[in-house]
């Protein structure tokens, strides 16, 4: 009875002049008589053709995300690349000055120093953070009663504000600070010095803070990798009488190759961008001995107001990170395949 009425109503509707609009993202039942306003497929996400399955989400849902991506990660760097060839000061009209900014980078000892320090810092950071992280991971992968607590202790610095951490270390490195006192305590008074005030040691202090903060992060990535190393494999190797070093080289390390790739890529990129630690520990000094590309981008652009020159340093940094990042990734990939 009810069924019949509905059917009748439906028939009535379709007999009416075409006022009813079906379609749209609701996906109502579309009678053959219903009029569909034309809507482009990219807007409605409707699949054409009889092939069923779920309707695809419409593109407009992704528009904001795509706009953010294009705006911030493509358009902005591109126009930044244009600024790099001007002498713009942020307010007056910019003049196009060709490669002058880049020539200045090459001629100025401060900029060359910044480039060198960035390489030195990122390179040694990459090596040290890998070594320390791996040693910690191997040590804490074993059955220790306190291993969960110890993992937390080693990992904790990674979640702290790099700026605050750097201020803590600034105290550690002062003449009356903890490091000198401890050196005095074990009879090494001769080594006491103003660690951050000495151009020959300041950069290594920055490195210590970077490694202290992120070794734990490398450790947990390696620990995650170690979970994939089957115990049986290790045990078999033990039974076969393989020595610790052999076991490590032949079984553990090859299986950690993917973790190694992640740690290296991550740390290389963050090492090349180091800013907070330098800013808080030394401010680039003493006598420019710890300036890096990132601190110079900040200094030139936002302190000196040389927007064009700052952009050119940023460009050097971007090109460097892209090349080294990609090279590193390709190298790691081929290494993983070889193992």
């Amino acid at each position: 009875m009810t069924e019949r009425t509905t059917k009748k109503k439906h028939a009535d509707t379709s007999a009416l002049p075409p006022l009813v609009v079906a379609g749209g993202p609701g996906g109502e039942d579309e009678g053959p008589g219903a009029v569909r306003w034309w809507r482009p497929r990219w807007l409605t996400g409707r699949n054409s053709g009889p092939a069923g399955g779920a309707r695809k989400p419409p593109w407009f849902l992704a528009m904001l995300g795509i706009a953010f991506l294009i705006g911030m990660h493509f358009l902005a760097p591109l126009s930044g690349g244009v600024y790099a060839f001007t002498d713009w000061d942020g307010f007056n009209t910019a003049t196009f000055i060709g490669w002058d900014n880049f020539r200045e980078i090459m001629d100025s000892s401060v900029q060359r120093g910044a480039l060198l320090h960035t390489f030195v810092l990122a390179g040694s950071y990459l090596v040290l953070v890998n070594v320390v992280g791996l040693v910690l991971a191997l040590a804490l992968n074993r059955t220790l009663k306190s291993r969960n607590f110890l993992r937390m202790v080693f990992f904790a610095p990674a979640v702290l504000s790099p700026l605050a951490v750097s201020y803590i270390w600034q105290y550690m490195f002062t003449y009356d600070g903890a490091i000198n006192r401890m050196l005095g305590g074990i009879g090494l008074d001769g080594l006491r010095r103003e660690w951050l005030g000495d151009p020959s040691t300041a950069i290594w202090c920055v490195l210590v803070v970077m490694v202290w903060q992120h070794a734990g992060q490398a450790m947990i990535i390696y620990l995650a990798g170690l979970q994939g190393v089957a115990d049986e494999l290790e045990e078999a190797a033990v039974i076969d009488g393989a020595r610790l070093w052999m076991r490590l080289r032949r079984i553990t390390l090859p299986l950690l190759a993917p973790a190694f790739t992640i740690v290296s890529t991550l740390m290389l990129i963050s090492g090349l961008r180091v800013f907070d630690q330098v800013f808080a520990l030394t401010g680039g000094g003493p006598v420019y001995s710890t300036e890096t590309l990132a601190t110079q981008v900040y200094q030139q652009t936002f302190v000196e107001g040389r927007f064009g020159f700052g952009a050119s340093i940023a460009m050097v940094m971007t090109v460097l990170i892209s090349i080294l990042g990609i090279a590193n990734m390709m190298y790691q990939r081929s290494r993983e395949r070889r193992l």
């Binding site: 993202p25 609701g26 996906g27 779920a54 695809k56 989400p57 593109w59 849902l61 992704a62 995300g65 795509i66 953010f68 991506l69 705006g71 911030m72 990660h73 493509f74 358009l75 902005a76 760097p77 930044g80 600024y83 040590a139 074993r142 059955t143 220790l144 306190s146 110890l150 993992r151 904790a156 979640v159 504000s161 790099p162 700026l163 605050a164 201020y167 803590i168 270390w169 105290y171 550690m172 903890a178 006192r181 992060q217 947990i220 990535i221 620990l223 993917p258 991550l266 961008r273 800013f275 800013f279 990132a294 981008v297 652009t301 936002f302 927007f307 952009a311 940023a314 940094m317 892209s322």
Partner: protein, 281 residues
């Protein structure tokens, strides 16, 4: 672990690791110990723990004074607003974007996915100057929404990358069922897809919250000198005002650090999973 017994070797290993951890945690000990000392205690006995009478006044000072923000207290609130705002925006925008990219299997969506990955790898430093100019023109410097947009757009590629990986592994049956039941696209997304994304959303929220909370570089450029500076900005001015007064400085640093440390201790598992597995995608 069950019946775990020490052998002499494992005992030595345990002791060695505990000693190493103590040495490693030394800076944190000094942070807390010195932040609770009076000026006098700091000069006379800087290494000892101030157990007898901790000087909580340092914290009161740091909380209410220093910088253009008017103290770490106000900065704390600012940071909370900016972090929560950025995380919410980021999760919404990136999950929607990733949903479209993952579910549409056209050449266009694949191309876009590659663009997101490229945007994730390339540093955004070169874009700083144009972004600064645009934001200055639009009056977005030193505003909550300005920095929230900036953080959202900045972390977006990484978040989309994580979401796409997750959604691609998700069966479509739930969504199909919802649509058969007559749910619209947005309804399907919010009622069906979002709940399914919970594990990866936790990861994205954790990692992005961490980045935004600790961010100094962007805040320095886009927020400094304003009254809505974040904790690192306030800490920086506080340090400049109280240079070498380490007890005060460390009270300020503790205020900046403690919230994240607490969240970390409580939600350790998620952090570890996020930082170890999330990066792998």
């Amino acid at each position: 672990m069950g019946a775990f017994r020490y052998t002499s070797r494992s005992f030595v290993r345990e002791v060695v690791m505990i000693l190493a951890a103590l040495l490693f945690a030394m800076p944190l000990y000094f942070l807390i110990a010195i932040s609770l000392k009076t000026d006098q205690q700091l000069t006379l006995e800087p290494m000892k723990p101030p157990l007898a009478d901790p000087e909580w006044g340092n914290y009161a000072d740091a909380w209410s004074s220093g910088g253009t923000t008017g103290g770490m207290g106000r900065a704390f609130l600012n940071t909370l607003i900016i972090t929560v705002g950025s995380v919410v925006c980021l999760v919404l925008v990136s999950s929607l974007t990733a949903y479209v990219i993952a579910r549409r299997t056209s050449r266009l969506s694949n191309g876009l996915y590659v663009l997101f990955v490229v945007g994730f790898i390339m540093p955004a430093t070169l874009g700083l100057v144009p972004i600064y100019v645009v934001m200055r023109g639009a009056g977005l410097l030193a505003t909550y929404h300005g920095i929230i947009i900036l953080h959202t757009a900045g972390i977006l590629p990484f978040a989309v990358f994580l979401y796409v990986g997750f959604i691609r592994a998700l069966p479509t049956e739930y969504e199909e069922a919802a649509q058969v039941d007559g749910a619209g696209m947005l309804r399907t997304f919010f009622k069906v897809v979002i709940p399914l994304l919970r594990p990866i959303t936790t990861t994205v929220a954790m990692l992005s919250g961490l980045i935004v909370w600790n961010d100094f570089f962007l805040a320095l450029i886009f927020m400094s000198g304003s009254s809505i500076g974040t904790l690192p900005i306030a800490l920086n001015s506080f340090v400049n005002e109280n240079y070498t007064q380490w007890n005060l400085v460390f009270a300020g640093a503790t205020i900046a650090i403690l919230p994240m440390l607490c969240v970390f201790v409580v939600a350790q598992r998620q952090f570890v999973r996020g930082l170890a597995g999330g990066i792998r995608g």
